[in-house]
């Protein structure tokens, strides 16, 4: 389970003074659920996910991952999560298999367990052909699969994806979406942010719409339809964000 209560994040900028990235954000993603965080650029999605991934501390409020505090239980949370970001890079002079082993070992896994997990992930993501090739000349799709593999090698129960299909072609994006769906079937809890509304529509059990650091609406797709009186998620999104 992932939840935030009155979460607030303020950045200090020498040029712009105080910038409030998140303001009183309260949301909840239940265990085994897929939660999509929608919002325009600068809405606070990435900051929210970074706080939940223990990369940043909140200015105030509370955020919990698997009932653990993101401020006080960072180490424990890191044992439970896998994080993928659209801007995450890969080590260019290593192969996906080497990267998988590196992160597996960093997370205190046994070599045999890493090999077992990698074999499963490589097959699932269709990475066998390039699993032992250095990533220097990989396409964007191959890189993104490598990033996914890196996050999943530890078989985490909770996954945090920041725009996981950003910059991918349609075919690769579809394979990532299919994979996320498969992860849900394995009982994983998944929180992801996206700009692509059809992904949220297809994948999410619940959707949160965030704008200027505030959660403006949250619920299942049918609940959002009911509350806004609009059928299409795109219409719902624009009605809430533009208001």
């Amino acid at each position: 389970m992932i939840e935030t209560r009155s979460l607030r994040k303020v950045f200090q900028s020498k040029k712009k003074g105080q910038i409030t990235a998140i303001c009183d954000l309260t949301m909840r993603c239940g265990a085994g659920e897929i939660y999509a965080l929608l919002g325009p650029n600068g809405a606070g999605k990435t900051t929210t996910l970074r706080i939940l991934a223990t990369l940043m501390d909140p200015t105030s409020g509370d955020a919990r991952v698997d009932s653990l505090s993101v401020v006080h239980d960072k180490e424990e949370i890191r044992k439970r999560i896998g994080v993928v970001s659209y801007e995450t890079g890969v080590y260019e002079r290593m192969t996906p298999r080497e990267i998988g082993h590196y992160f597996g070992r960093l997370n205190n896994m046994e070599v045999g367990q890493i090999d077992h997990n990698l074999a499963y992930i490589f097959a699932l993501l269709r990475m066998e052909d390039f699993a032992d090739r250095r990533t220097d000349d990989f396409s964007t799709g191959m890189r993104q699969k490598t990033v996914l593999m890196r996050a999943l090698v530890t078989a985490p129960q909770i996954l945090i994806f920041d725009e996981p299909t950003s910059g991918l072609d349609l075919l690769t994006a579809k394979s990532v979406v299919d994979y996320i769906r498969l992860l849900k079937n394995e009982g994983k809890t998944i929180l992801f942010s996206t700009h692509v509304l059809w992904e949220a529509e297809k994948l999410a059990d619940r959707i949160g719409i965030i704008d200027r650091g505030r959660l403006v609406e949250e619920g299942t797709l049918s609940e959002l339809r009911e509350r806004t009186g609009r059928a299409d998620l795109e219409d719902i999104f624009f009605s809430l964000v533009s208001e």
């Binding site: 970001s85 801007e87 002079r93 590196y102």
Partner: protein, 376 residues
């Protein structure tokens, strides 16, 4: 934690080994370019010092002393006063009237001025010889005229002279090489941020301390490896008959005992740890390699400034040895020159360990600051 630091270290070493541009760059620079440059400089020094370069002397007088001195010196080339001397910008002129012989030269040209001083000394000797010959003709004995001679003698051995030269040059070279090569490995620290791989490491279970120590050790290893490669390049170059430092080394003879070598290795390792931890701090703070390069440039200047003290003959107080880099330079020199364990080596290594620990702590603290990690 140490196991994870070792994992980070091994990964960084693997990445560096596979960086073809880095390896080729270091190998070519260390084994060919630098030794060749120093060999070239050495050769130039040889030519400058020992070459049979003639100095034109405009003889504007027929005074027998001037004529005898100029003709008696094979490095002087007498040209007549009627020849256009502007064709020879580096010439010395000798003129005379009644009782004065003037040797005219240019003090802004050191070589030309030293020729003039030599002519002046030769004229004085000529005058003295003539005077003594006349006095002897008048019945004054040689022993009365010249009761004693003065000889300046060097009591140092070739080995000692070699040790002083090596002790003067080596700390300087080692420090400059270590800093320059550590700077090349700065991407070990800054690369994760630049290539957006840092977040994935930070959300893993590896402690920040393990990341910093692993990376610092990788920078240290690379810097030592590159420096050793350069020394090997110079040795190979010298064994092929090329002079690396020209005549500057004279008849010096270098010999290091195994105990001295061990002490030097320990000293250099301490120094390398300090430098790599500084590079680590800089690389952690910087956003890009370019930015890191801006911050590391002053480090090179400060290191060169401190290293230059190894050229000094002054004896420093113990407190000076507590200054990192400078302490290493001075103890390195003491190890080579005195041939015994430098008494301050414990202090220097202690300071190295302390500085390394403090800088690792600073890097770790920076790894915990989101304003550093996500600096825009």
């Amino acid at each position: 934690m140490l196991r994870q630091a070792l994992l980070v270290y091994r990964k960084e070493m693997l990445t560096m080994r596979r960086d073809r541009r880095l390896i080729i760059g270091v190998t070519v620079t260390s084994l060919l370019v630098m030794p060749a440059l120093m060999g070239f400089l050495g050769r130039m020094t040889n030519t400058g010092n020992g070459g049979p370069e003639l100095t034109p002397v405009v003889l504007g007088t027929d005074h027998p002393a001037a004529v005898a001195v100029v003709r008696g010196d094979p490095t002087l080339w007498a040209i007549g006063a009627t020849i256009d001397s502007s064709r020879y910008p580096n010439h010395v002129t000798i003129t005379s009237d009644n009782e004065t012989i003037r040797v005219i030269s240019d003090r802004t040209k050191p070589r030309l001025w030293s020729v003039a001083e030599r002519i002046d000394a030769s004229l004085e000797t000529w005058k003295r010889d003539r005077l003594m010959a006349r006095l002897q003709d008048l019945g004054v004995s040689r022993s009365e005229l010249d009761p004693f001679t003065v000889q300046l003698q060097d009591r140092s051995s070739e080995t000692a002279r070699g040790a002083v030269l090596l002790g003067t040059l080596m700390p300087y070279l080692v420090i400059v090489l270590l800093v320059a090569n550590s700077v090349r490995a700065v991407y070990v620290a800054v690369g994760e941020k630049e290539k957006n791989t840092l977040a994935s490491v930070l959300v893993s279970q590896v402690p920040r301390e393990a990341i910093v120590i692993g990376k610092s050790l990788a920078i240290t290893t690379f810097a030592i490896f590159a420096s050793v490669l350069l020394v090997m390049g110079m040795v190979v170059f010298a064994s092929l008959g090329f002079t690396i430092a020209g005549d500057a080394l004279g008849d010096a003879n270098f010999q290091l005992r195994p105990s001295q070598v061990v002490e030097l290795i320990i000293n250099i390792s301490g120094l390398a740890l300090v430098i790599s931890s500084v590079i680590m701090v800089v690389g952690t703070y910087a956003r890009t390699q370019r930015e890191a390069g801006i911050y590391t440039a002053p480090l090179l200047f400060v290191s060169i400034f401190l290293a230059v003290f190894s050229f000094s003959d002054t004896s420093f107080s113990t407190a000076v040895y507590a200054i990192p880099i400078l302490g290493n330079a001075l103890t390195m020199k003491a190890t080579i020159v005195d041939g015994t364990g430098a008494p301050e080596i414990g202090l220097v290594l202690g300071v190295n360990a302390l500085v390394f620990a403090v800088l690792v702590w600073v890097s770790v603290a920076m790894y915990r600051r989101e304003t550093v990690l996500f600096r825009r």
